[in-house]
Symmetry: C2
Subunit: 417 residues, 2 copies
């Protein structure tokens, strides 16, 4: 596959996107079913390639957590196929009429949903993302060009090969799914600089990866950002909601972007809520990093430094700070939040409504766990990522966020006066 250039791949994806754009919903479902079936049939060869990645990873000394994300076993290959079937079952967004009216002169205007064309993705060593993005892109009529982490290179090469073979058997050009993994850094660069070929580029992974893609890209990027997520407890926060929501938001799955990282407690509530919430967290194995006030109220607290307020731990660590007023909590969030999700626990309507109005994040919550910021929880069925930028998409992105629109105008000889 290396006799061509990354630009050749982009050009072929662009050409193929004209085919994928015109597939009917039935044809796309058949293609995805063919992919799901091929993944199951090819489990052995996928797992074998993955074993090579894991061996290389161990040799290169990558950590256990990364090895775990990288690993594909029989069960995980089955989940890859199920994920593809779930995506196939989603309603097709293409062709949906978004708006429309007749102009006073009689021209009929219609705004319809169309595919972007070519969706690029740059992500880390998680082979499931390879399948997810290719399937989501295809369901929404797009071609995809994938660039995964080099630690998953062998797995990705096989996964892409399997998917392309399945497309061919379904009678669709395999060029609809492309990888540029085999070009290393040049593949990523071609994606980021592919003006005219890449219609949208989605980075998924660490803050550093996202920053690089945003900074170096000349193509449109949807920023799927890190989550330095806050929960505020005010003086009216009920004991049970405060404790249950904070513990759930931290402990239920600490490694994901919607897990809470900092709890801000209003001073009046501190003597009641800090010991309650901190000890509940500690009994779940969470290390509490607190300011002086927190340290005065609970034992076994690690002194928090400036760095803690801006850290997305993604682990069983949490920062806890006592603030004088809701104004101070809002100011802290303005300074340190990544604009992903923030929640307030309160029964005071004024505080709730002020929080909803003033916090400038993709998702702003009252009395709910931040873990709900998720495409599946929001009812989108699948998730492309969670956008923390304000352009095009904000918050969990579903299939329709992988589409654009165009205007159709049907006239009968009208000219402008």
């Amino acid at each position: 596959m290396t006799t061509d250039t990354p630009q050749d791949r982009l050009a072929r994806a662009k050409e193929a996107s004209r085919v994928s754009a015109r597939l009917t919903s039935d044809e796309k479902v058949q293609a995805l079913e063919s992919i799901a079936h091929a993944l199951e049939e090819s489990a052995a060869v996928i797992i074998e390639a993955n074993a090579r990645d894991i061996e290389n990873g161990r040799r290169d000394g990558i950590g256990d957590a990364l090895i775990d994300r990288l690993r594909l076993d029989e069960k995980r290959v089955v989940s890859l196929a199920s994920a593809v079937r779930e995506i196939a079952a989603l309603p097709d967004p293409i062709g949906q009429v978004v708006a429309g009216h007749r102009m006073p002169n009689g021209v009929a205007l219609e705004q319809v949903r169309v595919p972007f064309g070519v969706v690029g993705a740059i992500y880390e060593a998680r082979p499931n993302v390879t399948v997810d993005i290719a399937a989501l892109a295809l369901r929404s009529g797009n071609a995809s060009v994938l660039r995964g982490g080099s630690a998953a290179r062998e797995s990705n090469a096989v996964l892409v090969g399997v998917m392309r073979g399945a497309l061919e058997r379904a009678g669709i050009t395999p060029e609809v799914i492309q990888t540029v993994d085999d070009f290393g850094r040049d593949g990523a660069k071609a994606l980021m600089q592919g003006r005219g070929f890449v219609d949208v580029l989605v980075p998924r992974g660490s803050a550093a990866l996202i920053e690089t893609v945003v900074t170096e890209s000349t193509v449109p990027v949807i920023e799927t950002g890190a989550g330095n997520v806050h929960i505020v407890l005010d003086e009216t926060a009920p004991d049970d909601w405060a404790q249950e929501i904070v513990v759930n938001a931290k402990v239920q799955r600490p490694s994901v972007c919607n897990a809470v990282e900092t709890v801000l407690v209003l001073r009046q509530a501190a003597p009641r809520l800090v010991p309650l919430v901190a000890s509940a967290l500690q009994s779940e194995g969470v290390a509490v990093h607190g300011d002086d006030t927190v340290m005065g109220l609970v034992s076994n607290v690690i002194p928090a430094t400036e760095e803690d307020w801006s850290t997305e731990y993604l682990s069983l660590d949490i920062a806890m700070k006592v603030v004088d007023t809701l104004d101070d909590a809002l100011a802290h969030i303005r300074t340190y939040s990544t604009g992903h999700t923030e929640s307030i626990i309160t029964t005071d309507t004024r505080n709730a409504e002020r929080f909803l109005a003033e916090v400038d994040s993709a998702v702003v919550m009252v009395n709910s766990s931040t873990r709900f910021t998720d495409g599946a929880e929001f009812g989108f069925g699948a998730e492309v990522g969670i956008s923390t930028q304000k352009l095009h998409a904000r918050g969990p992105m579903g299939l329709s966020e992988l589409t654009s629109t165009k205007w159709l105008a049907r006239g009968s000889g009208q000219t402008r006066g």
Copy 2:
């Protein structure tokens, strides 16, 4: 105004955007009325500053067309004020509930329209854009940071000063409207690199300006592109529609992006339509640049070169080419179109529907003049620009394209299982 840095201005705009985001619709209307009134009251000083720009421009040898775009007289100042009042009269997009449902666990989800925050604009020497963008941004709850062409610097400084004074009199912080004109190139650079301060950047002007902004920006950009606009005439195109639509699309206002630049005639229709349409254009003073077939059918045709197919003339020039089939016309459009607007004149349903489906442009038309691609014509009341990219906005952009959304979640103690 030069004791601070461009970054200081961005920071003040960001801070002020928290104020503008929470203004009620009534407060925004009052502020805009105050601005409109102040522009009328300050006509003399605005015209005086503009005279200095024109004097400088003449000295620097800028052309008559640019001088005309730059000029503000009594009548044009009145139009500036009217434009502001028209923007004030538009419905407020902020607070609109775009989507919403209850999650199965009872959490109430709502997606609401919110301002972007800070809207940046980089544009050429047209002082009306200064007022338009500031007013559109304010109507949609945004702060704006403006960078106009250096040839309009004196006019823009006075216009921004007048608008800021009007905001103060309306009791709103003047920091909601900022210029970085006085920093020259550094001002533009600060806007393009203003991550965390500039939520969206809109370039308006030449292809070269837009290319620079897209390439150098690390902030999200909405590309408002040039229009290399095509009209296709097939064998069923009625004489009158073909002639009237092409002439209207070229002649009614040749200097704008929705004016047609190339006419593609299907070979079977060429003997009938090329002489008819070309002579109608020529009698309106249009220079026809044609291929060999066109030259064989009409006199006084300038031989078209490869360059003509990719040129956005913006003048009384048009390119005309005879193609064998609709496939060839579609291929020509794929190669040369900027994705703005294309129209086909036909009474054949198959050709019409195929054109609508396959042409990948912001607006695709049948039997209508391309001059209709316009915010006012589409019923948006005002226009931020015409987006030729696929992310966030495509085609004419109204007020709601200057907004983002956020998700509000109202729960009562829900946690994720």
